[in-house]
Symmetry: C2
Subunit: 595 residues, 2 copies
């Protein structure tokens, strides 16, 4: 049941028409030769793999789920292993990796586009290679040369996979209180003991080895987050020749039964004197792990975009086929027993909500990936610094705004199907269940909001936010004088002003009372998310206006979607700004006993 | 895992302090003798049954689900049959039923309070007696004396259960195109043939007979909704003595696998020359069925309140126990490894959202039930008419606003648990899955919105809305002069004015273009929902102000919750009013091919 076709036209629009990536990579020496044709070929090939191999396993994977077979063994659903084998043979794990370790060296924006499609096709499956790529990035940034020599080629090839082991039964958000211990061995390794929970892809049958990145405490570690170190703990300890050797003391104790992503194993991992090696400096494990956590947060953004897109595609087909009631303005399909439900204004509202959020997310997330490429590879240090600041600012928005929207949109898609949406057969309820985790893991959306408002905005007195604000005001100045752009530029300028004012107001209040930050954070993030989307929708509208004379209906559609965004979605900020301004008093004055 | 205790104090507050039911029933001859003590005893007993018998079956019932055993036989989860037996033996099915047929004759507001508790404890189980009560009401209103003699005592006793069979594979919302046929038999009965789907409680092992109320077409029926008739189709045809006799040709063909309410059987019902008897007049079946559908819509409101309440109770306990991070304003539990998460402003925000929506829903729904009692039983015809209008106006709001809020709130409750919320073990994800159906069945929330704006408001030029508006303006006039009430009365008056203005504006636009109704309906319903909640929160604040000197912390809590409602939840209307005003253009201008 259901369908997925990679939205190649829109992906190419974002990459080539909105972002001009072919021109942008000229400033990045290691990507300078990349051309549009190569990118398009990669996307097309990946799209085929996603539609033909991964998508057909999505629903069956959900139904079957993973199986804990006892003694640490986990079996993935039927077909998962074969699909992973094909993925590896086609070289997809290497796409965005360093050529020094066998990678293809493509920029992050291409890899992110790949992940959008993988996630549309099968989020639970994609978490296996997705976490591996995060482990690759972490070891690539912080591993010793020896660790890089041993692990990176295997991770790049995809024959080994990776995980991140942070959470423990008593701590998730609050890593400062974690208890897993690492005792030094005489050979320079560490003996690690403790229990980790909620470890995605922690155990499975897809790869010959699993490389765990584990947070633990050294014996002399100071308390809190400044006493956490990072270790690489392989399931099988690599031999000198780099092949899987002795079985290590890290073992899956059970897997969780959960609301969604049934086909990804969520493992309890027991470490009993497991052998691990320090990654990065002692007691600075959180800093090293942040590379992986930031990658994972962008990854959640791509999961959310992927689900939004596939749910939209399916609900659109249904809305055109399902006949129910007549249009209030008279029959539109008089030859049929009833009109297709796409004639009804509210069905259009929830379809266009999905479309506008999917396309806005694509523009924002591909642009963000390009900023990561600039941060890592641009020839000019000032550009690198600027890009790094923008990425730091926008990562929590990418994670939280996109996953909130994906949950809203998969629910809209389900609602288009009515009662049929609630039935497993049609596959829509799975999207809702899968999308739900994205608001929780890799830092709940409330934690992202605090990260944005507290750490990224207020801590540097709004300096990073002003960098994004500069992009907005530059665009407003350039386009604000043009009559055809008024309908887009005016609301963009308006929300820009409001965000600035709101930020200052909260900043002032926070100096009196830090709880004002926590009270405002969630509606603040949604407000800034809309500023970001307004900016990208205005830019996309500019291009569509320029090109609509071509007669290509794509631009007409883009323009109509932009208009819908400003008319119906941006007004959410009228509420979120008020909620953010309403402050902490009504939250904090009620004593705990009175709840 | 988990817990539920009937919120007796708040239920009693609503019934006795807000609604003064003991005084109100004096105007209803058949309830005039009912006193507060009796009501409280009933609620207390029911609360025990819910906590002790039904609640422990909720999670196990979800896990096991119903089983289709072949040949039309459905088995409910372990313990369901025994619990139903206890329910019947205690006489609960009879609580709100006519004494002429063995009922206890209590008012709807008591029965609704019972249903809140049943649904908190176990929504899937409650749907078996819930639909039976709907069938009772339909036959009580429209059955022939003979039908009433045969069926009502059995339904009142609970030894037989009931269903409503409306939906067919090609039609849900659009009953006008239904195809099930009813051919007259010589004995005055009809031979009914067709397929019905999504029939909740359609087959099970709880009762000795199942009474289906089936919509079908007579041979000479006009097309559309004016050609639909209602039939009573028993699983076993009653003998003269009123006992189950011959097996009828209505049989369950399969049950659906679905997102939630796993323990309620959602059946495909095949009718093959099933014997049925006409209920009400030929071709006026929809009118007769509306009694049941309206009861079902109020029932969905009670399901939604029930889930909101139980999810709140559980997330509150977790928020007080779970230690994670320190308060931004300094440690609150310095003796512990971290502070309980209830110290964090955003956790309080999502807890208070649940609390304010639960308590607002309780006030609104019990008050609505009391209007139903007035409509049915008041001695004064003018009062009956007034109450009937208010019930007609508010039923779609009760269904849609409460179920939207319940989905939001169960998701908030899940979010309080973080990753643990996504795991089946804790039970929170079940509430989200169960709550989701409430937005779909008995008319999707978009259909409710159209019913409100199109049929209940615009069709009578706002006459019914003005009746509710009169309650608001009377309260505003009486209380608006009192300084201590300003903070509640001012925003109430403001949202009242805005609803009036918005209604007129949409009405004007709709005269030009009927699609304006469909475009505005959903945000319009949410706006009016907040007007209703503002009214009840202001009234509850009045009582709390009057009684706070008593020192009872209940009133302090009520007042704080009212303040939270006005500060943080009512502002949603800033967005919904804009969205409603934004009109149809951005929805309708995009051609179907451009989606």
């Amino acid at each position: 049941m259901g369908q997925y076709a990679a939205p190649l036209r829109d992906m190419q629009f974002v990459l080539h028409e909105l972002l001009n990536v072919e021109a942008e990579v000229k400033g990045m020496p290691k990507h300078a030769d990349l051309d549009a044709d190569t990118i398009n070929q990669v996307l097309e090939e990946a799209g085929k793999f996603c539609s033909e191999v991964l998508f057909p396993l999505n629903q069956s994977g959900d139904r079957e789920g993973c199986t804990y077979e006892g003694d640490g063994v986990v079996r993935t659903p039927k077909g998962f292993k074969e699909a992973y084998q094909q993925y590896v043979e086609a070289g997809w794990p290497a796409l965005g990796c360093d050529p020094e370790y066998g990678g293809q060296g493509l920029p992050a924006f291409v890899n992110n586009a790949l992940y959008e499609m993988l996630n549309s096709a099968n989020q639970a499956w994609t978490m296996y290679p997705g976490l591996s790529h995060g482990a690759y990035e972490c070891l690539h940034a912080h591993g010793t040369p020896e660790q890089q020599r041993i692990y990176l080629p295997k991770l790049v090839a995809g024959v080994w996979t990776g995980t991140m082991c942070l959470t423990e039964p008593h701590c998730g958000t609050d890593l400062g209180i974690l208890r897993t211990k690492a005792e030094p061995n005489v050979d320079g390794s560490f003996a690690i003991t403790g229990t980790k929970i909620f470890i995605s892809s922690g155990e499975h049958d897809l790869s010959e080895n699993i490389i765990h990145l584990v947070l633990a405490r050294l014996p002399d570690a100071p308390p809190g987050t400044k006493g956490i170190s990072l270790f690489v703990v392989p399931k099988f300890i690599p031999t000198e020749a780099g092949e899987p050797g002795e079985r290590n003391g890290i073992k899956c104790g059970s897997i969780e039964h959960k609301m969604g992503i049934h086909a990804n194993s969520t493992c309890v991992m027991n470490l009993d004197n497991a052998k691990g090696w320090l990654v990065g400096e002692p007691n600075r494990g959180l800093q090293a792990m942040f590379v992986m956590m930031n990658a994972a947060r962008l990854g959640v953004g791509m999961q959310s975009l992927g689900l939004t897109e596939v749910a939209y595609q399916n609900s659109l087909v249904y809305a055109k086929e399902r006949l129910q009631m007549r249009s209030l303005t008279g029959p539109k399909a008089p030859e049929k027993a009833a009109d297709p439900i796409i004639v009804h204004p509210d069905v259009r509202r929830i379809l266009l909500t999905q479309k506008a959020y999917a396309e806005g997310a694509r523009a924002f997330s591909y642009w963000s990936a390009m900023q990561i490429d600039k941060e890592l590879s641009h020839g000019d240090e000032a550009v690198r610094k600027e890009a790094a600041d923008l990425v730091a600012l926008l990562t929590p928005i990418l994670k939280a705004f996109l996953s909130d929207n994906a949950f809203e949109c998969t629910n809209h898609a389900m609602q288009v199907f009515g009662g049929h949406g609630f039935i497993a057969e049609w596959g829509m309820e799975q999207y809702v269940r899968d999308a739900r985790i994205n608001m929780i893991y890799e830092g709940t959306n409330a934690v992202q909001s605090l990260d944005l408002l507290g750490r990224k905005v207020l801590a540097d007195m709004g300096a990073k936010l002003r960098k994004f604000g500069k992009l907005v005001t530059d665009f407003v100045e350039a386009e604000g004088v043009k009559p055809e752009m008024q309908e887009f530029v005016n609301p963009l300028a308006d929300i820009g002003d409001k965000v600035q004012k709101l930020t200052m107001e909260i900043g002032m209040k926070a100096m009196q009372n830090q709880d004002e930050v926590g009270a405002a954070a969630v509606p603040y993030l949604r407000t800034v998310g809309h500023l970001v989307f307004s900016y990208f929708w205005a830019r996309m509208a500019r291009i569509a206006l320029d090109k609509q004379a071509s007669g290509d209906p794509f631009y007409k559609s883009k323009l109509a979607t932009a208009r819908f965004y400003f008319a119906k979605l941006l007004p959410e900020t009228a509420a979120t700004i008020r909620q953010a301004r309403a402050g902490a008093k009504s939250l904090m004055e009620i004593e705990e006993a009175l709840f």
